[in-house]
Homo-oligomer: 208 residues x 2
């Protein structure tokens, strides 16, 4: 390893650690927003909870808005990348539906603060960022709709309206942020199996 | 009609009109909270939007908290009374499930502001009222769970976990506050038919 490499390595490590630091601050802020509300939380509160001085916090983020944007981005980017990464694997549409449900429910567990903020504080985003996040959210919804349409085309699903089916899926899973508590009794993936079973096979005793 | 009756009538009319006035103020406040957020809305804003002076507003409500409580009560009381009123009619459990879904979705249309406030501002309620509303909300959820259990007992539904089934129903319907817009293309009752069909029969092409 020559000297140049070592310098780059050091730079990379420093860069990584800044990134990690920012992610930690975002996670701390998301928890505070979740518990106390976005409006009621100040940069001072975030600095205190993150265990850093306020000027240090401003070194990482210029404003509370910027942290809010970052929370929205991290959440929707997670959903998008997980779905896009597995598209090459040629799972059947009904399998993809299960994976989408499991993704959303898993984020309730790993990104609890992010979830409430994403669903309840969209309107607090600055206009430009609101539009950017909306585009990504719409892209995600379109991909899920396309999954239902593909399932119908392949004879796996009935001839359902893809949009309404996607909204039923999002409802069942997204709503869990209102009631799901990590208490060890049910893994989110197990919950995904149950909701998937209801959505695909119905709770009825038999087809009419 | 004697004099005493007339006096009582007059008193009743005055009473009714006070009640109506309070309901109008609550509806106005719910719209403001929905649009601008509970924290960002002042009693002054509510008075202005209701077209009354601030002291007049304080004649009807002693605080913003009181209005918030009233919004929560009106919403959950509507759901409870609609469900309880029809229990005597001996509809089948699967019919009751449809009616519950239609109730919730209809309130998205008639009580739009109430809905967001009920779902997003529960934590802003004073402690005692938070407990009271939680009791009513739990009572409503229990009734829906009992409907699923009865449906299973009567062989209309599979042997599903009543709580998870109720949470799936609430998810599909409650979540609509995030996306449903009254634009004339779909009545909320028609939407209830579609969601009911998904929940009871599933979107799958056939049972495995």
């Amino acid at each position: 390893m020559n000297k140049a490499d070592t310098a780059r390595d050091r730079q990379e490590r420093r860069h990584l650690s800044t990134d990690q630091r920012r992610r930690d601050i975002v996670a701390t802020a998301a928890d505070l927003f979740d518990r106390n509300g976005y409006v009621n939380t100040s940069m001072q509160d975030i600095a205190r909870a993150a265990g850093i001085a306020k000027p240090t916090l401003y070194h990482y983020f210029t404003s509370k808005d910027e942290i809010l944007c970052r929370i929205h981005e991290e959440f929707i980017d997670q959903l998008l990348s997980r779905h896009e990464n597995r598209l090459a694997a040629r799972l059947r549409p009904d399998q993809l539906v299960l994976e989408v449900m499991a993704d959303i429910l898993e984020l309730m567990e790993t990104h609890r603060g992010h979830v409430r903020v994403f669903f309840e504080n969209h309107r607090e985003l600055p206009e430009r960022e609101q539009a950017e996040i909306r585009l990504k959210r719409d892209r995600y919804q379109t991909m899920v709709e396309e999954t239902f349409a593909a399932g119908t085309a392949e004879g796996l699903f009935r001839d359902v309206d893809p949009r309404t089916a996607a909204l039923a899926l999002f409802g069942m899973c997204n709503w869990a942020y209102q009631w799901y508590r990590k208490d060890g009794t049910m893994r989110t993936r197990d919950l995904a199996y149950v909701f998937w079973d209801y959505l695909v096979h119905g709770v009825g005793a038999g087809r009419p």
